[in-house]
């Protein structure tokens, strides 16, 4: 996105400035001294409205202490079960229902897998979600939602809001800068940012081939500080995980020609933005010149995020050349 951060460039700078240093630098395993680890509950919950709204759900996990490896069983134990999770939508309190993947019938399990972006056939952990299965919550822009989690003698609370939708106004496919790549294209979107309010955006993409919605690798959120009230066109990179096997910096952000592209364009509130903003920054901000960045959570009594998305979903087709 158009938000620019200088720190990655400083890394380039070091790379180009000190070839000798890099030839000479070396690495060795490091065993950190004992730290005062205190386990915490991590909330990951979303409530959506708009033209593609997933059911409201919450995943509860535990933090991990500093360990070098975790196996499937230990991973399974991270998921917090038998919690009491409820959401107040301003009118009523709705109790979310605990659904553990392995206890679900085949078709429901598959659907839950789609929501989470996982393959339920091969996953080893018995992931449990807390879901508003009957869709009782009134989900609409302008409302606030209070989450309460009661688990293991702890009470965690959080509030999020669903902001007004901001639709994308145009889409364009253009050739990539590297003209030798003719099987892929760059997507340009047009945003018309409303002038009267501060807006925060997050986007995710998926393709027909790879249906899981993912956030982009380098910063998934942006606010309108640089372009409040303007209509403008920007490139929208296809999202990929930085550590995925098919990640290639030379083709990062490009869409495959002949494939469909799904754009999930979301408006979010300030607290929700702060969470992803600090989290994305922390993920890209470790190393030689960094101090550290603590992720800003909106969860009282725990870590994580209770976030509202007002979603505009677009399905586009990237034509072959």
């Amino acid at each position: 996105m158009i938000k620019m951060k200088l720190r990655p460039y400083l890394k380039y700078m070091l790379l180009w400035m000190l070839p000798i240093v890099f030839l000479a630098s070396c690495e060795a395993p490091f065993d950190p001294s004992e730290t005062t680890y205190q386990p915490q509950i991590v909330v990951e919950g979303y409530i959506e409205t708009g033209n593609s709204s997933l059911p409201t759900y919450v995943i509860l996990t535990r933090t991990l202490p500093f360990l070098t490896t975790i196996d499937g069983q230990e991973f399974n134990d991270l998921f917090v079960k038998q919690a009491e999770v409820s959401v107040f939508d301003g009118d009523k309190v709705v109790q979310l229902t605990e659904l553990c993947l392995q206890d679900l019938p085949e078709d429901l399990r598959k659907r839950a897998g789609e929501v989470l972006g996982i393959n339920t056939d091969s996953i080893s952990a018995n992931i449990c979600l807390y879901v508003d299965i009957a869709d009782q919550l009134t989900r609409e822009a302008g409302r606030s939602y209070d989450l309460t989690v009661k688990v293991e003698n702890q009470i965690l609370t959080a509030t999020t809001t669903l902001p007004k939708a901001v639709a994308l106004t145009d889409f364009k496919w253009v050739e990539p800068a590297d003209k030798s790549i003719d099987t892929m294209a760059e997507l340009r979107i047009t945003v018309n940012d409303p002038a009267d309010e501060q807006n925060f955006y997050r986007y995710l993409t998926a393709t027909e081939k790879d249906r899981q919605f993912l956030p982009p690798a380098f910063g998934s959120v942006v606010d309108d500080a640089l372009f409040n009230g303007q209509e403008f066109e920007i490139p929208l990179p296809r999202a990929q995980r930085r550590n995925s096997k098919d990640f290639n910096i030379d083709t990062y952000g490009l869409f495959m020609r002949g494939d469909s592209a799904f754009i999930k364009w979301c408006t979010i509130d300030k607290a929700h933005f702060d969470f992803w903003n600090t989290r994305d920054y922390a993920a890209g901000n470790s190393g030689s010149f960094s101090s550290y960045t603590r992720v800003t959570s909106n969860i009282n009594g725990g870590l994580g995020i209770w976030g509202g998305y007002t979603v505009q979903l677009y399905k586009l087709y990237c034509p072959p050349k």
Binding site: Y9, C26, F66, S288
Partner: protein, 789 residues
């Protein structure tokens, strides 16, 4: 406004004090005469800073040359034998019948250091350790710095001062430094009086000071006298050479990283001279052919420095100087496959015009007009998308200082200083085709002013006092739109005014000829700030002024020490204790995200700090083997209400133990050897406490700020200088310097990197911490040459 009233009230008081003192002092001046003049190097005509001028019969009559080589010594009418000396030079003695005010310029010849018995004249010079009221002040002649081992053979003033007690390096191989628990922005770094805002090239791995162009460096790490201000922690006052006014000299060096060339000579013999000195790196220029046709064609990085100075002696009483420094780092990055490019130039420019005027034998005045400019630019983009970022500081500075050698007991200094600052904290513009974006962050303008008065008082043979006061003021002015009230301020219209009353006091009690006790305090105010959330200062970090939102930093330092000379002044010893109290310290909160669309001052949090420590310094200044041992035991802490609820935590540069051993050995005329050993407690960092899952990804969460340490740091550097023909009468002379950095290849940790790998499907997760070391054993070789006509 309240601050301004206090400031004005105190100004009034100060004038009254000055008037009373003037009346009191006039009593003495009738019965004495003054011996004054300049001390210069006989070969080059360079004025000498800090040379001693002492009466042999009564050593209480002593003076030291100022930053322009001027001395003034007032004594009762009599016949005196006077000795003039400077370390590394042969002293000279002469008889003076002082029955009238006498002007006497003295020339000293560089000593032949190879002799068994080195120059006896250093003796008086070394007495300064015991005699001066100043504490925590160290003069480091640049010639001494050149003998020390240097990484990649690059001689570096800033890395040398890191070897002094109370001074810490900001990181492995880095020229940034911290003094007595103060931040890196709390050091006043001056080059010929011009403020140098960014002291590092190549992310701080090399300093901007080309040692070939420098004459002297003075570090004041505590109790700064009232003529210095604007920073809380220290003063590093660097003077450039003036240029040889007798003959033309060309000297230079060829090293692994850079090469240097200096030309100096007379413009009008004995009256006017110039020096021009340049340095440039070229390692990536050399690989340009290899990049041609590849993905990164056009990518390059280099830095350069250019120092120039010209001076003209108008008369016995007037001399003018013009000096300039221009330095830049230039980074160009090109990646053809993605049509991605950026240019990142940054650097300093300074220009100083000075006028030295002697009113009479006792009054020396310097008036300076100084311009300095630090700019950081980033221009980058991909296809039609272009992004530009600019930050910088531009100062216009006028100052006048008078040194008034009133009588045998009082030396006064007083002066005024005014600076107009223009500070641009990250103005960003972006365009994509026809659409422009801007963060609308405009430059901030401010006036900074100060008046000071100080008196160096010799009460009797035992008590010396240096008392001074500095009154400072800072005013943010328009054009500006208040970010609190939205009110608009026109050009030069005051937005916010701050004042500072900064008393300074140093007392020296001479217990015996070679033992003294000193104590002092200094209150300081700092109106401009540099905040970094990195482990070291980066070029992208921006200087910001005090504003309606950001308050000035304030500091108060107390220090006391014992100073002793041993074995007929062969050894100098000092032991100092200090305590420092810091207010309005600025930092970023834990969850800070660098975002150029926002004004950085919105991300600041404010807190307090304290630092205390003990410093031991043992120096052997003469003999074939000379050098020093410096050891510091210290603690530095900060407390910010917005960071972990105000818990006192150790500052990132808290290093309890810090030891430096420096030794030079002169084996013969041909061979000189040097060794440096450094030991320091490991650097602090904020440990990763654990991990959590979000969007199926592993995320880190951290323990308390700065609550873990890396391994201790230690290193030995060695160097040897070989001069093949030391006695050669030829005009061209060369020497070779061989250096070993980190001789025993200690793997000092630079940082810890965390790598996480998690497969959500299988649940298998790996988390690895790796210690990264950057500088192993590095050998280097440099060839230096000198030609003179």
């Amino acid at each position: 406004m309240k601050d301004l009233k206090i400031f004005l009230r105190n100004t009034h008081k100060l004038y009254s004090i000055v008037a009373i003192l003037m009346m009191a002092f006039s009593v003495y001046s009738q019965e004495t005469f003054t011996l004054s003049g300049y001390v210069k190097d006989k070969n080059s005509g360079e004025t000498m800073i800090g040379a001693s001028v002492v009466s042999v019969s009564d050593q209480s009559f002593a003076a030291v040359t100022n930053n322009y080589g001027f001395y003034s010594l007032t004594m009762p009418k009599d016949v005196y034998r006077v000795t003039v000396s400077y370390i590394g030079y042969e002293s000279t003695s002469f008889e003076v019948t002082l029955d009238k005010n006498t002007n006497l310029n003295v020339q000293l010849s560089a000593g032949i250091v190879m002799q068994e018995v080195t120059i006896s004249a250093d003796k008086e010079d070394r007495r300064k350790n015991v005699e001066s009221t100043q504490m925590g002040t160290i003069d480091v002649p640049v010639e001494n710095i050149k003998k020390l081992p240097a990484i990649f053979g690059e001689v570096d003033v800033l890395k040398s001062i890191q070897l002094l007690p109370g001074v810490l390096s900001s990181g492995e191989g880095n020229s940034g430094f911290y003094v007595r628990g103060g931040g890196s922005d709390q050091n006043l770094v001056l080059l010929d009086e011009a403020l140098v805002y960014s002291t590092g090239h190549m992310l701080g791995f090399f300093s901007v000071f080309n040692s070939d162009a420098l004459k002297n460096t003075t570090l004041i790490k505590g109790n700064m006298p009232a003529n210095y201000g604007g920073r809380l922690s220290s003063v590093l006052d660097i003077q450039m050479k003036e240029g040889n006014d007798k003959k033309y000299v060309v000297e230079g060096g060829i090293g692994l990283i850079s090469s240097r060339l200096t030309v100096q000579g007379p413009v009008v013999k004995d009256k006017s001279s110039f020096i021009i000195s340049g340095r440039r790196t070229y390692i990536l220029d050399l690989i340009q052919p290899a990049l041609k046709g590849g993905k990164f064609e056009g990518t390059n990085y280099y830095f350069y420095d250019l120092n120039t100075k010209w001076n003209y002696t108008l008369s016995d009483k007037d001399r003018i100087f013009f000096s300039g420094y221009f330095g830049d780092d230039i980074l160009k990055f090109r990646q053809s496959t993605r049509n991605f490019r950026f240019d990142m130039p940054y650097g300093n420019k300074t220009a100083t015009l000075r006028w030295n005027h002697l009113f009479n034998h006792k009054m020396f005045m310097n008036v300076s007009a100084i311009y300095n400019d630090y700019r950081f630019k980033f221009t980058g983009g991909q296809d039609e998308f272009v992004f530009k970022l600019f930050s910088g500081v531009k100062d216009w500075n006028l100052k006048a200082d008078v040194e008034h050698y009133l009588n045998t007991k009082h030396t006064l200094k007083y002066g005024v200083n005014y600076t107009y600052h223009t500070m641009t904290p990250n103005t960003a513009q972006a365009s994509n085709g026809d659409v422009d974006f801007s963060n609308n962050i405009l430059p901030k303008y401010s006036n900074e002013g100060a008046i000071f008065f100080l008196d160096d008082i010799k009460l009797d043979n035992q008590w010396n006092v240096n008392a001074g006061i500095r009154l400072s003021a800072f005013q943010q002015v328009g054009p500006y739109t208040s970010r609190i009230t939205q009110a608009h301020f026109k050009t030069f219209e005051p937005v916010k005014t701050y004042g500072g009353v900064e008393p300074r006091l140093s007392v020296n009690y001479r217990v015996s000829k070679d033992l003294s006790l000193k104590a002092g305090m200094a209150a300081t105010t700092q109106y401009i700030h540099l905040v970094s959330n990195s482990s070291s200062t980066l070029p992208a970090d921006v200087w910001v002024p005090s504003t309606e939102i950001v308050k000035p930093q304030r500091g108060l330092q107390y220090a006391a020490g014992v100073f002793k000379n041993l074995s007929k002044d062969e050894y100098e010893l000092s032991f100092e204790l200090y305590y420092k109290d810091l207010k309005n310290q600025i930092d970023y909160a834990d969850n800070y995200v660098a975002d150029i669309s926002k004004d950085v001052e919105d991300a600041f949090v404010s807190g307090i700090g304290r630092a205390y420590g003990a410093e031991l310094f043992i120096k052997k200044a003469k003999g074939r083997l000379n050098g020093w041992v410096g050891y510091t035991l210290s603690k530095t802490e900060r407390s910010f209400p917005a960071i972990e609820n105000g818990r006192w935590y150790p500052a990132v540069y808290d290093r309890p133990h810090d030891l430096s051993i420096v030794a030079n050995y002169n084996l013969s005329k041909k061979w000189d050897f040097s060794a440096v050993f450094i030991y320091g407690t490991g650097k602090l960092y904020t440990p990763v406490n654990g991990f959590f899952l979000i969007e199926q990804q592993i995320n880190l969460f951290y323990g308390p700020r700065n609550s873990a340490r890396l391994d201790d740091y230690h290193r030995l550097d060695l160097s040897a200088t070989y001069t093949p023909n030391p006695d050669s009468k030829k005009r061209f002379k060369g020497s070779w310097t061989f250096s070993l950095y980190n001789t025993y290849n200690r793997k000092n940790p630079f940082f810890i990197n965390f790598d996480t790998n998690s497969d959500f499907q299988s649940g298998n997760t790996t988390i690895e911490a790796t210690k990264i070391t950057i500088f192993p054993l590095i050998p280097s070789i440099t060839y230096n040459f000198k030609w003179n006509d």
